[in-house]
Structures are given as structure tokens and as C-alpha cells.
């Protein structure tokens, strides 16, 4: 009886990264065959993104210290692939209760669900800097994808700027691959890292790996500056980036020549689909951003909608694998299926350590909210539509728009091609600073369908 029910229950997972793959694997082992929808053409998500067919670099070259994990995840997926309903190259662009709207290769279709598990992942978290719209400025994650997925460097001479563990990881991967790394410029001062050590010791192995990466950069004599304040990406509109200018921790102005900048401050979750489903979000004080409100196992506030991985809470790829397994067990339990209590407790224990570690990371590499306040009026906040900090501030001072969505309506910040992915968090900080209130009080940009732009040429296909 129970098995019959399980086999007719339509379970859809969105996202084939570490969370989605482990979730699908756990469900399949329990006799539930999920539909796994992924926007990418190949599995692995961003961090374990696979290189195209025909590329020959081995796992160690591609993934370094994470090689064993990447290989294990890819092999697990290869075993699953023929046994589940896998739909790559498919964007879920909207949803209504019980139904997803999808588009694949220019064709629109719908997919019905009884249970939905969102494993939508994250993108880079960005803070604008004067000149960041110039060609040659890339997100840090983008710089990593260029190398991992295409074996190219984003420039002839690359500066890595921002903060967070990814800054050192990508810089060291570039160095190892033979790219020219001009400098690593971190906004976080050394003191923050020392203060965060007790929490970071929750995962000593990961902490040690991070220190090794830093040692590699020092050994290669790459200039590494901590506690910098970014001032400007230099260059011109036609030729793009020609350098960066920062203020060092000692208060000196430092100019580094380069033709590419990789910029990023850790990650932000892709919560749009959960938002459209009506799931509650909550403000995470430690990272100062809005996350999905879920219980420990991944149940959202909406019945039948679940979430796991960085798309609900930024804890990294290892945590995503555990959360993917755990959320599958939560769904099975809700369907009155037996679950392996030992396996569940194992995931919980691992996640507890990772929660501690992520608090350490948030403390060691803080989101530089104060930069938004210091942005000159001329700096571009919305790089899609070239809207400046001054224009956004005027919507606060002249129109009294102290709420993110209202300020978006007046200024268009958050309305362009990226739909606020790269400007709305910094925009909220600019608004909060101009209004003199805490950033939590100015709200967050609401998700809107389509969650990514659709072509007018999209055809409807009858189911």
C-alpha cells in the first residue's frame, strides 16, 4: 500500500548540484523515482561543474583538494541517470501550486508535482565598486567557471578582489593553472580571521586546506593584502579594465595594473522559485542576508515544498550533500515511509559542525556593508541598466522610497537583465544607509516570474 502510494507521488527536484543529486539518490534508494530538472546541460551544479566532452584534464587538475568528492558525486549521478527522469537544459521559470512552468531549447512545457524539492544553488554575492561595469570585471565564481569548464583565464593579468574562502581558492587555482595572478585584495582584516578561529575549528581539515592555499600564494610571491578598501576599477568604456585602485589597511593608496578583475563576497541563495511558491524567508543576522526559512531537515513554510543546499542556506557544497540526503528523508517520512534513523542522525551531526563553521566564515570574511554607504554617487549600482548610487539615493531622499521594491519601481535598480541578482543586496544597503535604518528594515526584492528572461520566440508545446 505504502509503496503504491510512493510510486504515484510525483516528486520534482530542481537543480542537479550536490544537494539535488544526493536527494535524488536517497529517494531512488527508497523506491521513489523523482523528476530531476536542471538548467545546466550537465550535472554537478556550479562547484562540481563538469568540463565539456572532449576535454582531458583529470579530477585532481580540475578540482584540486575536492577531487575525490567531485568524482564521487559524478559517479553517483552516472549510476542514477538512467533510473530517474532527468531533464537537463531546462529552466523552471515560474510555478503555481502543483505545477512548474519550464522552458527547454525554446519550448515551453509544464510539469505537475505533488512534492517539490528546491536545490537551486547560489550565485556570487556582489558589492559594487566604482567602475565595476567595465568589460573585464567578472564575478569570482565566473572566473572559476572560465578555468574549470573552459580552461581559460579571464585575462592576461588578473586581480582577485573581495572576501571569502572562494577568493583564495580561485586565485590559487589560477596560479596552479599557469595564469598571471597580479594580486589578491581582501576586504577582511586579519583580526577578524583570528577572532573566528574557534568556530572555524569545527572543521579543522577545511581550515587547514584554506591555510595551505594561502601559503601557496605567498610562496609564489603573489601580493596578498588584507583589510583593503576597494576604491575603483580603472579603465575606459571601450577597452575595459586597466587596473584597480584600493586603500590598504595602512591607509595608503595602492594601484595594481591588470586587464581583468574577479570580484565577489561569498554567495547569495537563489530563492526566487521558493519565493514564488509563497515560502517564508528569514533574515540571517550572521551573513546579513535573507535565507529560506526551513526546519532542520529542509521543510519550508509551504506544505509539500522542500529545500536543500545553498539555495536555502549558504553552507557550502559538503553541507549541500548532507542536506540533500536529509531533505529526501524528510519527504519520505512525511509520506509515512521508513527512514534509516542512523543515516539521518549522521547527516544532522555533520550539518551541526558545518553550521558552526559557516558562522566562523561569516565572522572571518564579513559582508562589507559599510562600502555601500561609502560608494560615491557616481558609482554604478545596477550594471545592467547603468543606474548610479546617486540615482538610487535620490529615490530615498526625494520620493521617500525606503523599501527595496518601492525604490526599485522608482529607480529600476533590480529590474534589469539580472533581475537584481547582482545589485539588489547592495542596493538594499545603499537604501538603508540613505534612510538611516537597519538593512533588514528596507526588506528584500520579491521574486518575479519569469525568474530569468524568456525569449518572445518561446513556443508552447502541448503536454
Amino acid at each position: 500500500m505504502a509503496t503504491a502510494r510512493l510510486s504515484t507521488h510525483r516528486v520534482v527536484i530542481v537543480g542537479a548540484g550536490p544537494a539535488g543529486i544526493r536527494c535524488a539518490e536517497t529517494l531512488l534508494a527508497a523506491g521513489c523515482k523523482p523528476i530531476l530538472i536542471d538548467e545546466n546541460r550537465r550535472d554537478g551544479g556550479q562547484i562540481y561543474r563538469r568540463q565539456p566532452e572532449g576535454f582531458t584534464r583529470d579530477y585532481t587538475t580540475l578540482y584540486g583538494t575536492e577531487a575525490a568528492k567531485a568524482k564521487d558525486l559524478h559517479q553517483s549521478f552516472d549510476r542514477l541517470r538512467g533510473l530517474i527522469d532527468y531533464r537537463p537544459d531546462t529552466l523552471v521559470w515560474n510555478l503555481t501550486p502543483g505545477q512548474l512552468c519550464c522552458v527547454s531549447q525554446g519550448k515551453h512545457s509544464t510539469v505537475d508535482y505533488d512534492a517539490l524539492i528546491l536545490c537551486t544553488g547560489a550565485t556570487d554575492r556582489l558589492m559594487p565598486i566604482e567602475g565595476w561595469q567595465l568589460a573585464g570585471t567578472y564575478s569570482l565564481g565566473g572566473a572559476q567557471i572560465a578555468l574549470k569548464s573552459q580552461a581559460v583565464s579571464i585575462g592576461h593579468r588578473v586581480v582577485f578582489m573581495g572576501s571569502g574562502p572562494l577568493l583564495y581558492l580561485v586565485a590559487s587555482q589560477y596560479l596552479k593553472a599557469g595564469a598571471n595572478v597580479a594580486a589578491v585584495l581582501d576586504t577582511s582584516p586579519l583580526g577578524k580571521r583570528i577572532g573566528a578561529l574557534p568556530k572555524l575549528l569545527a572543521r579543522p581539515g577545511v581550515l587547514f586546506t584554506g591555510m595551505k592555499l594561502l601559503a601557496q600564494l605567498y610562496r609564489a610571491k603573489i601580493p596578498v593584502h588584507l583589510g583593503i578598501s576597494p576604491l575603483q576599477v580603472l579603465g575606459d568604456a571601450q577597452r575595459g579594465v586597466s587596473g584597480v585602485r584600493v586603500r590598504t589597511a595602512e591607509g595608503k593608496t595602492l594601484t595594481v595594473e591588470c586587464d581583468a578583475v574577479a570580484l565577489g563576497y561569498h554567495l547569495r541563495p537563489e530563492t526566487q522559485l521558493a519565493d514564488l511558491a509563497g515560502c517564508r524567508l528569514r533574515f540571517d543576522e550572521a551573513s546579513s542576508q535573507w535565507w529560506l526559512a526551513t526546519d532542520e531537515e529542509g521543510r519550508t513554510s509551504v506544505n509539500g515544498v522542500y529545500a536543500a543546499g545553498d539555495g536555502s542556506k549558504i553552507r557550502g557544497a559538503d553541507a549541500a550533500e548532507h542536506a540533500g540526503r536529509l531533505v529526501a528523508m524528510a519527504l519520505l517520512e512525511d509520506l509515512h515511509q521508513p527512514v534509516d534513523a542512523g543515516l539521518r542522525d549522521e547527516q544532522r551531526r555533520a550539518l551541526a559542525l558545518m553550521d558552526q563553521f559557516r558562522l566562523g566564515l561569516a565572522q572571518a570574511f564579513p559582508w562589507p556593508a559599510e562600502q555601500a554607504k561609502a560608494l560615491p554617487d557616481s558609482a554604478i549600482v545596477c550594471r545592467c541598466e547603468m543606474i548610479s548610487a546617486g540615482e538610487l539615493r535620490r529615490t530615498v531622499s526625494e520620493k521617500g522610497a525606503c523599501e527595496v521594491n518601492r525604490a526599485k519601481a522608482f529607480s529600476r535598480v533590480g529590474m534589469g537583465r539580472c533581475q537584481g541578482r547582482y545589485c539588489s543586496q547592495a542596493g538594499a544597503e545603499v537604501i538603508a544607509a540613505a534612510a538611516g535604518v537597519n538593512v533588514q528594515l528596507v526588506g528584500r526584492q520579491r521574486g518575479q516570474a519569469p525568474v530569468k528572461p524568456l525569449s518572445m520566440l518561446t513556443e508552447e508545446v502541448s503536454p
Binding site: 550565485t123 564575478s139 565566473g142 567557471i145 593553472a177 571601450q238 541598466e385 539580472c418 528572461p453
Partner: protein, 102 residues
């Protein structure tokens, strides 16, 4: 600047011939359009809102800064579409531009 992106490995792949703005170019099989264009040039497109050139930003299909078009008018994200023999790409939108900021 000849090319913005620099190839560091995987250079033994077969070549693919395509056309960009009417000029024939060669790329390597498995290249994204972005890599094909930016290993030989410094930008992908013109911003609609200022005089700036654009060369993409996120490489993961989130920012939409890397749109190019086929000659028949189909819009493609250069970061997430691979080169194919005979592809005819244009880097200006096959419609009137929209000069919001003059």
C-alpha cells in the same frame, strides 16, 4: 588587445568554423560562444544604456550580460551555448537599440 581570455590548457581539440558579424573565425570544439569570441576579441556586445562595451560577468547564466544573436534573430547566452560549425552570430541586437541614457 587581441583577446581578453587566455587559453591555459585543452588546446588539442578539433577546430570549429563559425561566423561572427560576417567575419569567419575558428574556435575549438567544446568552446562556449563566449570563449570563442573573447579569446579573439575584447568584448561581446554594446551596452544599451551607455557607451560601454560588455564582455559578460557571471558565466553561469545568471546575469544575462553575454547575449548575442544568430542572424535569424535567436538570442543566445554566450556563456552557456557551445560553438557549432556554420553558426552565424551577430553581436548587435537585430532590432533598433534603446538609448535610455542618451
Amino acid at each position: 588587445m587581441k583577446g581578453r581570455f587566455v587559453r591555459l590548457a585543452e588546446q588539442g581539440r578539433p577546430t570549429v568554423k563559425l561566423t561572427v558579424d560576417g567575419t569567419p573565425i575558428e574556435a575549438l570544439q567544446g568552446d562556449t560562444l563566449m570563449v570563442a569570441l573573447l579569446t579573439q576579441g575584447s568584448a561581446l556586445r554594446q551596452s544599451e544604456f551607455d557607451s560601454g562595451r560588455r564582455a559578460g560577468f557571471c558565466l553561469m547564466g545568471a546575469c544575462q550580460d553575454c547575449w548575442v544573436w544568430t542572424r535569424s534573430g535567436e538570442r543566445l547566452r554566450a556563456c552557456s551555448n557551445e560553438v557549432r560549425d556554420g553558426l552565424d552570430i551577430v553581436t548587435t541586437q537585430p532590432e533598433a537599440i534603446w538609448p535610455l541614457h542618451g
